[in-house]
Amino acid sequence: MEIAALVAAAVPVSGAIGYESAGLPFVVVAPSSIRDVLRFLRDDPAQAFSALIDVTAVDHSPGDGVIEVVYVLRSPSRRAKIIVKAKVPADDPRLPSVTSLWNAADWAEREVFDMFGVRFDGHPNLKRILMYEPFEGHPLRKSYPYDRRQPLVEERDPIADPWPSRDRY
């Protein structure tokens, strides 16, 4: 629980709470503070979690109405891992984007948006990545039945509408 105390001391608004599962340290922080917490973990020489390995989410909306966004960080120099979580309300999930800290967050956050509908404020190009643009709903939400059918997408005229993605990046 030491790491959670360090995070809480460095970023007081985070209200960091630590726990352990299967030998791994977990820290739960306030959603608004996520960028500061991750920047602290990355830049603090004693922590040195320099690599953002993964961003994902777990939908707990049937139980307590929240979506947990999960950040997996790794410190190669210390051979350590940490998992940072932010719980956002499932009806309006919003978080600051960490794309300014790691480029890897770009695609990872797009996938969390695609699959769970979590909006990352400040993301340069927040759009679906694995699903297609007219897809309805967010498939990894527990409220999305695995056998739901999607409406057929109308055929696009490539001459009249040639480049749907031209303004990306």
Partner: protein, 404 residues
Amino acid sequence: MTTERERSSDPETQDPISEVMQIQMGPSHPATHGTIKFDLELDGETILKCDTEVGYLHRGFEKMCEQGTWTQCIPYTDRLNYASPLINNFIFTEAVERLLDVTVPERCSYIRVILSESSRIADHLTCLGMAAAEMGAITVGFYMNEARELLYNLNQAVTGARLTVSYGRVGGLARDLPDGCADQITAALTKIRSTLDDCEKLLERNRIFIDRMAGIGVITAEDAVSYGLTGPLLRATGVKRDLRKDDPYMLYDRFDFEVPVGTKGDNFDRYSVRFEETRQSIRIIEQAMATLPGGPVSIEDPTIVLPAKQEVYENIEGLMSHFKLVIEGIKVPAGEIYFAGEGANGELGFFIVSDGSGRPYRVRVRPPCFYGMGALAHMIRGYAIADLVTIFGMVNMIGGECDR
């Protein structure tokens, strides 16, 4: 943008060199290993921007894992990186075992190491052979496929299938190695070693190959870390990071092997790192085969591992535990874990949440080549459109894993 289009459609003022050309490469293109689309902006032949569109092979892996029992996820993991399905099997089952807090028998770990490394060789041979074939060195492609065939035959002898192996089990393996497996492995490794020597001679003194690989698709070590690159892509930039050494699992700490690294982070370093890793994997297999211990390949716990068929047919306890395991699944205690191992393409991780029922609450796979594809737009900027083929080949996107 519209003014640009109007200008280009007017034949009087049309000058194809003076303006940015937009080209869509894919979704189905002979030089792409999977279905993928690149929206390119070109200045002549130089790529100014590349927008990578993935997801064409999305099958809802993570959603489907939530529908069945833990054991029923294993066949889905085969279809992630289908060039090295055994690695996916074993890392998934290791993750569940750590959540269950059980340790598999030593023989099981040895077999997992042997088959993981043989899969890594098969994966690297696929990547290198295809990349060389795309550059016109089709001989190398055939040589490497021929060598890989021996490993697929090994897969078939051990698991009964060539690609859809489903050989890992939570708490052990589906079955022990078959008779004569050691000879088969020795023969395969001898052939692969001579194939590697041949291919090295064919490629590394080949002017065309070197011109198209050296200095192409350079990425710095800082950028590689920032883009979440792992595995051969990261090691090619000079960062010595390998989970088999840094965070050992499956008894990898018992074997002696080197972690090859590059210096420049270009295509040629990626090629060299993969090439040398193949040789190191051969070393690991040879060490593991020489010291392979006897004993069972699965733990004996009727709440985790299916009982022997004899037990199921002949006594009521066996029948009951079989029934409960198949219908209710393994009761993994509530908790969360992130466990990662070194896949052929990099860090293959599983973030697993269990709620204590027999079914996964959430299974997330951290696919290494998804992040590799995320960095592709950065690696390709400023190079010619023909370099896209080689850079993409060296990222080694596997559609099943990238799109899940």
